[in-house]
């Protein structure tokens, strides 16, 4: 029995326990304990993240002439710890008053808990996969587990988007299966290292097909362009903490497999040899990533529902991860990998703040909120820290990973990709400002005068996540050893790091200095404000300047509708919904054919058609037999 077996056993027992007890109240308190146990099991395996040996599972299944097995590498561990911490935070968040309210509103709380543990189980199964077959099984599990969580919301839109998701996911799974079959057909083996060997033996066209099939499968999960349409609405419609969990980590399983398969076994050389003149597979993937940072981010800018805005950012930030890793150098890939953890930490925190606001006010419509900072100051603080991270500004962790990606793009001579990444960041900053302004700043509405701060069961996970956001930004050296081990295990150049950041010949980064100078600036400001300035006093929100107008509660001076009209005047024409159009046209074609065949088969003389079919089949069989004889 290895530590990995212990982990699988604990996860499996948790799954059984939660599914058995899901309708009892005790599941509220039990679930966080179980996630804590899983976390302990993972921490016991932490040596793998500091350059230790790979953990192999002692369980293996004999299948035909093939042994299916499981293992935990540094890469698996890195993604697993993010998954489990996100699940722990979500479980604590829903364990108290949120869960009570969810039950009272008729939600199936036990099912939500079950969906969460099923997700964790299937993700750990996927992350622990040791060969292509176990990878495929984990992949299917993860797809259906996400579907289980999405479909819990009672709204019609949620059901529709969940079905849309599963169609996409099955398309991806089919692509993955075809790719696996392609590999199996060459050497009759499903080991991971076969990918690299088979790839070198293949013809160029087969290589291209293989890379594209893998990429399509993983890109669909990750929501990369042009497969980004399913994700945002499906995640946004998922109930509360479920959305926080899915938004934080679920789609990053695509990133995991990209690193595992494409980066590790096909590699830079493999991608570069597929191409014509200056366009090769690496540039193609880099531009897919760049467009993924831009387009979904600017779609997020247009949203007026807070959860959708965040979910669209989740799609957009995936682009940075791919953009970093596809550079294949030490800092770029470190940035891309680190962004997975960073994004998970602030995205979960941000989703939770939005759910907290919904818990108190009943809406996440940005046009119907405002001024909640006085009522919910700690939630505001968490959102502030979260959006600083999401926008990639110091001293939060989003800055570190984005800085690494930018640096790598510049060093590798990719100024256009750099401009694209910066454009994406610009859109992020604009839309997160919209988020915090429309929710927490400005005028408090009359109906929200009695809103209170959310209870501690919801505050603790939010504050915990925001502490992670800050600490890993202030001292990225806590995370960088894990990244370095991942890079080592997948054969990328390893980043040189220290507690404050990275060492790099062309200019390193020390976040302790950067944050120190930032806080020094704030400190000087605070000194002037609190010790040298005159007296200050608080004023009421209606004691405010509106061109001399006398403000009352019926006068709205908080303008949140149609935010950024000037910008939209400039770029509004670019929003054409081309991808939506493409998706709709494909859907129309498919439904046309399905109606056509349904009519032929079912509505028109089915018995007659069956008879014709049977006769034709018999005829063919007879002919075959005749030729054979």
């Amino acid at each position: 029995m290895t530590f990995l077996d212990h982990l699988f056993i604990v996860v499996f027992i948790s799954l059984i326990a939660i599914s058995a007890l899901r309708n009892l109240r005790i599941v509220d308190k039990l679930a966080p304990v179980l996630y804590g146990l899983i976390l302990i099991m993972l921490v016991r395996m932490s040596s793998v993240a500091y350059g230790g040996d790979v953990y192999l599972s002692s369980v293996s299944l004999d299948l035909l002439d093939f042994k299916m097995h499981w293992q935990f590498t540094a890469l698996s561990w890195y993604f697993a710890i993010i998954t489990v911490v996100a699940a722990l935070a979500s479980a604590v968040f829903m364990s108290g008053d949120w869960g009570r309210q969810y039950r009272e509103q008729g939600g199936n709380y036990g099912m939500l808990q079950l969906a969460l543990i099923v997700n964790v189980f299937s993700m750990i199964l996927l992350l622990g996969s040791g060969d292509l077959l176990s990878l495929f099984i984990g992949w299917e599990f993860v797809s259906w587990a996400s579907f289980l969580m999405m479909v819990l919301s009672p709204t019609k839109l949620a059901k529709k988007s969940a079905v849309k998701y599963i169609v996409y996911a099955m398309t991806g799974a089919m692509a993955l299966m075809v790719a696996i079959v392609m590999i199996y057909s060459v050497n009759n083996s499903l080991e991971f290292k076969q990918i690299g060997e088979v790839f070198t033996q293949m013809s160029t066209s087969s290589q291209l097909a293989l890379v594209l099939l893998f990429f399509v499968a993983f890109a669909i999960k990750m929501g990369l362009l042009p497969f980004h349409l399913w994700q945002a609405i499906a995640y946004a419609e998922t109930p509360g903490p479920g959305a926080a969990f899915l938004g934080a980590i679920s789609s990053r399983m695509g990133m995991f497999t990209i690193v595992l398969v494409i980066v590790q076994f096909i590699g830079l050389g493999g991608l570069k040899q597929l191409g014509i003149s200056f366009v090769n597979m690496q540039t193609l993937l880099a531009w897919v990533a760049a467009l993924t940072t831009i387009i979904p981010t600017y779609i997020a800018l247009q949203q007026h529902d807070a959860k959708r805005l965040l979910a669209w950012h989740g799609v957009g930030q995936g682009g940075y991860m791919l953009l970093g890793i596809i550079m294949f150098d030490s800092i770029g890939s470190a940035g891309g990998l680190m962004h997975v953890l960073n994004h998970a930490s602030y995205q979960a925190a941000l989703f939770m703040t939005v759910v907290a606001v919904m818990y108190r006010t009943g809406t996440s419509d940005l046009n119907k909120l405002g001024g909640l900072v006085t009522q919910m100051p700690l939630t505001f603080l968490v959102m502030l820290i979260g959006i600083i991270g999401l926008a990639g500004l110091p001293p939060m962790n989003g800055f570190v990973s984005k800085w690494l990606v930018y640096r790598s793009l510049l060093v590798n001579g990719q100024p256009l990709l750099f401009v694209a990444a910066v454009l994406g960041t610009l859109g992020t900053i604009l839309s997160v400002y919209k988020l915090i302004h429309n929710t927490f700043l400005g005028q408090l509405r009359l109906e929200h005068q009695n809103v209170r701060e959310v209870p501690w069961s919801m505050l603790v996970p939010m504050l915990g996540l925001s502490i992670i956001v800050f600490i890993t930004g202030f001292m990225p050296g806590l995370i960088l050893p894990w990244i370095a081990s991942v890079q080592e295990s997948v054969g990328l150049p390893v980043i040189a790091h220290h507690l404050g950041g990275i060492e790099y010949a062309k200019g390193g980064l020390d976040m302790i200095w950067v944050s120190g100078i930032l806080f020094y600036g704030f400190g000087v400001g605070a000194l002037i404000f609190y010790f040298l300035g005159g007296k200050s006093k608080r004023v009421h929100q209606y004691d405010n300047y509106a061109g001399g107008h006398f403000l009352t509660s019926d006068v709205r001076y908080h303008y949140s509708n149609n935010f950024y009209p000037g910008l939209m005047h400039l770029i509004g024409g670019w929003y054409r919904g081309s991808f939506k159009w493409l998706e709709n046209s494909i859907v129309s074609v498919v439904s046309f054919f399905s109606i056509f065949f349904e009519n032929i088969y079912r509505a028109k003389q089915p018995v007659m058609l069956l008879l014709i079919g049977v006769v034709l089949a018999l005829f063919a069989l007879y002919r075959n037999l005749g030729v054979g004889a």
Partner: protein, 231 residues
């Protein structure tokens, strides 16, 4: 009738107090943000005064969009009674030290609207005015001259006591409030609690209170600030 401004000075004990005061008033006079409440035709003389021809910024004066950050309130023309309410609201929202400049004859004595039933004739009956710039309308040169005068007043406030007219609003609030009530009616109030501010800034005198403030207290509904706390 306009009374002489009576400035109440506190005893200073710090031996370097005058050095500090001098330095602070020097700095204050060199950096002024101006909120122009453009009520009438005088506003048209401000763009040339602000832009390259006369360049107000070389005196250290810049436009500002909110009263909270502004030092100077510029009233550029006739003040109708309806507008006066807004002007007073804006003035009270400004932070001390604050200065008022009345541009055009209309603010001095009603100008060509001296007969109008709907116009406040003398601005300094409703708020302390630092500098008047008369003319119909005053040329930008005159505007610049007036601003220069204000700067000198602020600079030499300790000697000449011309730059602290704003204290008068707290010192003799009852007088100003009385004039305001005479125009707007007895139920007049603004969101800002001037008496509380006078206490906060330590500027209250016996003339701060009077029958008008009593009248105000009767119907005043205070706007309590929203505390940021975890409930």
């Amino acid at each position: 009738m306009k009374k002489e401004l009576k400035i109440i000075q506190k005893e200073r004990t710090n031996p370097l107090a005058h050095v500090f005061d001098d330095f602070i008033s020097f700095c204050q006079s060199k950096s002024l943000f101006m909120l122009h409440y453009c009520t009438g035709c005088g506003a048209i003389e401000l763009p040339p005064a602000m832009t390259s021809r006369f360049d107000m910024e070389r005196l250290g004066i810049q436009p500002m969009v909110t009263p909270r950050q502004a030092d100077i309130l510029l009233i550029t023309g006739y003040v109708s009674i309806k507008t006066l309410k807004r002007v007073i609201l804006t003035y009270e929202q400004m932070q001390s030290p604050k200065y008022v400049i009345g541009i055009c004859s209309c603010t001095v004595n009603g100008g060509m609207y001296w007969q109008s039933y709907a116009t406040a004739k003398k601005l300094n009956e409703y708020m302390p005015v630092d500098v008047y710039i008369a003319g119909c309308m005053p040329r930008p040169e005159a505007v610049m001259e007036g601003l220069q005068r204000l700067k000198d007043n602020i600079r030499n406030d300790k000697k000449e006591h011309k730059g602290s007219a704003w204290k008068d609003y707290f010192n003799r609030y009852d007088y100003y409030l009385g004039n305001q009530q005479a125009l707007f009616g007895d139920d007049w109030q603004t969101p800002t609690d001037i008496i509380a501010e006078a206490k906060l800034y330590d500027l209250e005198t016996e003339e701060t209170y009077g029958k008008h403030t009593k009248l105000l207290e009767k119907h005043q509904t205070p706007l309590l600030p929203q505390e940021m706390r975890i409930k």
